[in-house]
Amino acid sequence: MAAPMALRRELFSIGRVLSRVSHLGPRALGACSPHIKCYKIRSLLPLAPSTSFHTATVLPSTPSPITVTEEPDALFQRVSVLVKGHDRAVLDSYEIFATMAANELGITQNKVYEPPKDMERLTLLKSIHIFKDHRVQYEMRTHYRCIELSYITGCTAQVYLEYIQRNLPEGVAMEVTKTAMEKVPDHIKEPMWEEQPVDDKPSQ
């Protein structure tokens, strides 16, 4: 699956390189003889202080078609999105992005807060052999951010969560907790003793 895409990317990059070389070609050919063409092109190219290679191509993805179904949409009382990361600054910017997206879609936010960070500490021996008194300590910090959305429909939740998840930065993990609302079943809506007052008790 990766092979055809990689081949396509290579073809694109080769195609782009050829087009670049060909647009420089006529100028270089006029200046020198063909057998040392490549070196001449290289010296004519302005060696920029920093250049980047055009290899990253956007993988095309077909958008999912809109479906209309008869069954009623799921309703969520609360959808809580917990993001975890090592860097607090990354989580700050992600929170700004997520709250902006929610405001644009018209989703009500219950609260946006920061749970206290967790630190996992390890104490190891500093030396590979003996020297038990000399240790070295490492710690891994996990920062959290929680965004709670209230009273949201299933479709809106799906769209919002997909958008949020596609733009998750690297090194950040997300946990989503959904609290759904269901209609009270009919058989427990009314108390039983009010429905059938006419029943004669057989024990009487």
Partner: protein, 171 residues
């Protein structure tokens, strides 16, 4: 071994002094502080020399500045609380670094940054302009194809080239 004997001798000295100290001067006490061979921290640090060794920003800062003045070279979620797969990611990272070091021999300007987003593995590297661009393109395509076949996930390389290594200071 010598350190162990030194520590036992120092312990005997200390205890002797303490006993003598408690007998003669109850108000103050003098003690002899001796440690075994104190191992200095050498991890990820470049030792200060004569001033002729060029060093990049990443190499110049010691590891206790990670998160404060330094960034992370490898970004994935397996070291967070409640997430797994840390060992596999570390082995993949080590292999990718050695592979890049060998494939682009002598062209790397700085350490490689590895980012993981979902299934996608992005390798970001700074290179020196030592090879002609055609060879660079070939090596990039070769690396991407080989690594994506090895790890069964899409691998993308983001390369930027420089003329010389950026030097932060001379140590």
């Amino acid at each position: 071994m010598a350190a162990a004997s030194l520590s036992t001798r120092s312990a005997m000295l200390l205890s002797a002094l303490a006993r003598s100290g408690s007998l003669c001067s109850p108000s103050g006490s003098r003690a002899l502080h001796v440690t075994a061979v104190c191992c200095k921290n050498h991890a990820a640090r470049v030792r200060v020399g004569k001033g002729d060794k060029p060093v990049t920003y990443d190499q110049a800062l010691p590891p206790h500045y990670i998160g404060h003045r330094k960034g992370w070279l490898s970004q994935h979620t397996s070291n967070l609380k409640g997430e797994g797969g840390a060992a596999e990611r570390t082995i993949e990272d080590v292999f990718i670094r050695r592979f890049m070091f060998g494939t682009f021999h002598g062209c790397l300007a700085n350490e490689i940054v590895i980012k993981r987003r979902g299934n996608l593995l992005t390798v970001c590297a700074l290179m020196l302009q030592r090879l002609p661009p055609m060879k660079f393109y070939f090596l990039i395509g070769y690396t991407e194809t080989l690594l994506s076949h090895l790890y069964k996930c899409p691998v993308k390389l983001e390369i930027q080239t420089l003329q010389h290594k950026t030097v932060y200071k001379y140590l």
